[in-house]
Symmetry: C2
Subunit: 293 residues, 2 copies
């Protein structure tokens, strides 16, 4: 485990890359641990998972229900419950909380359209949508298993994006799901940086939302991304906020003056790390957008 | 204004329906107010808007940047700022906060591919994504205008859904936007019911997120919608929560016992209105999913 953990794409290994075996994945840190499904760092997150047919992981390639680690004896027989405190399961929850990508590798024994005839294939980057417990039967015994929903989020434009996958579900479920999207919270590499800078504590209230493995926060763009505002996805345009203050900021319930005092319906000052330079023209844009100047 | 305000689709008037004039929209309550762009109730929301070319509303049909009401003299000349406190603008913010659909009507003078040769066309249901101020020039004067981003959310499967529209932006902006979707908050007719029942106050902490016009809350499904859980979109499976407690509930930071006491990382009891019957099997599902039993 001396090799460093690497998240996201690894140079030279494109989606669809074939590996003869597990050992070939190790020198590049693509998947560092032979014989284990999850390549994980408890605090930093899980970088890669292998689906090798060991568990009955149901998947349709774009949404994968992945079973966590632990509870098996030396022969691979399930003999006890899986635990969220297992390093590998905790790593996947960390990836979920932080919106980090996980490399998915599919082995030839796995039931999937993507499975190669032999060896392993890199199926692309996925994000961890959610996690939960499930009671599963193994012969006459039942054990509690850790489950993860992984959703394709790679760069192959021939495969659907998370939005299209969600949409496909809606359409299949009931033609068009009644109702609208209120909020889509995206996450980017830069957003992770701002959240780590503040240890996932909200820059307004200091709250960090506790999860099974660590903490959750959201990267909030000061000048919004997308039409018609076209703000940047840069550290100078990002704040680390709890979901409540993210909603309030986006809706203009409060804004921020150049001296970082809060204006509107929040009192106090924005906490700002000395390494975090905010573009004041973005603050001004937010104030002007919401009637504060 | 004696006619009741009606939200969403009106029976017998499908998307694409043509009206000779504004008066034809009034008997059915499709758009009740002649000569005004927005048919709105300050507290309940805006039911319908007309785009008649009166303002320079830029739109591509699926995303419409709509200008609010107010500040014009009898001849239609802009003579002062628009105000968020104007009933019609407040109504559109209420619709935004509550995830309610707005009927969009496009007149023949409006620059749009959907514009009819004469009269007006019903362009479908939209949701109000966001609102902000913009300084606009009128001759040598400048006024502050209220702006709304409306996104198509109707039933015409030949037109894109909100997810596809968001996606289309991502793809156009930079091939595939880096990063993943952390959270998609959808809203449904039923979700609005549960939020209204609690006056938008979180059933855990009592907080209602203040916005420009009223309050914001989220409808949280106890047993999740979608694969693999397949929970119902019904009042028995919904809670009214603030965004923070919505995230915490979805991630299993806390759960709820059958006697409504909170378990895990929250203390106290779930506030429950006597008219709100929760399906206890859904609570059990949540507890089991997150290791509380």
């Amino acid at each position: 485990m001396a090799r460093p953990i690497i998240f996201g794409e690894i140079s030279g290994i494109e989606e669809g890359h074939l590996f003869d075996g597990r050992k070939e994945m190790m020198p590049s840190s693509f998947h560092r641990v032979w014989g284990r499904g999850i390549d994980s760092d408890k605090e930093k997150g899980a970088a890669a998972v292998v689906l090798s047919g060991g568990y009955k992981d149901k998947d349709n390639d774009d949404i994968i229900i992945y079973t966590g680690a632990g509870g098996r004896d030396k022969n691979g027989k399930q003999i006890e419950d899986q635990k969220w405190s297992h390093n590998d399961n905790t790593g996947l929850i960390t990836s979920c909380d932080r919106g980090m990508p996980v490399r998915v590798i599919i082995g030839h024994k796995h039931k999937s359209l993507l499975a190669p005839k032999s060896g392993y294939v890199y199926a692309g980057l996925y994000y961890v949508d959610s996690s939960w417990d499930e009671i599963e039967s193994f012969g006459d015994k039942q054990f509690r298993m850790c489950k993860f929903k992984l959703v394709y989020a790679g760069k192959n434009t021939n495969r659907p994006t998370p939005e299209e996958i969600e949409l496909d579900h809606s359409v299949r479920d009931k033609k068009r799901r009644q109702g609208t999207v209120m909020r889509i919270v995206r996450d980017t590499q830069i957003a992770l940086m701002v959240k780590e800078l503040y240890d996932f504590k909200c820059q307004v209230c200091g709250i960090a939302i506790k999860t099974k493995s660590g903490f959750y926060a959201e990267g909030a763009h000061i000048k919004p991304l997308g039409k018609p505002h076209n703000g940047d996805d840069s550290l100078k345009n990002l704040l680390c906020l709890c979901p409540n203050h993210h909603v309030m900021f986006d809706k203009g319930t409060f804004s921020i003056s150049d001296n970082l005092s809060l204006i509107g319906n929040e009192k106090g000052r924005l906490k700002l790390d000395e390494k975090h330079q905010i573009d004041k023209s973005n603050l001004k844009y937010h104030r002007t957008s919401h009637g504060y100047e």
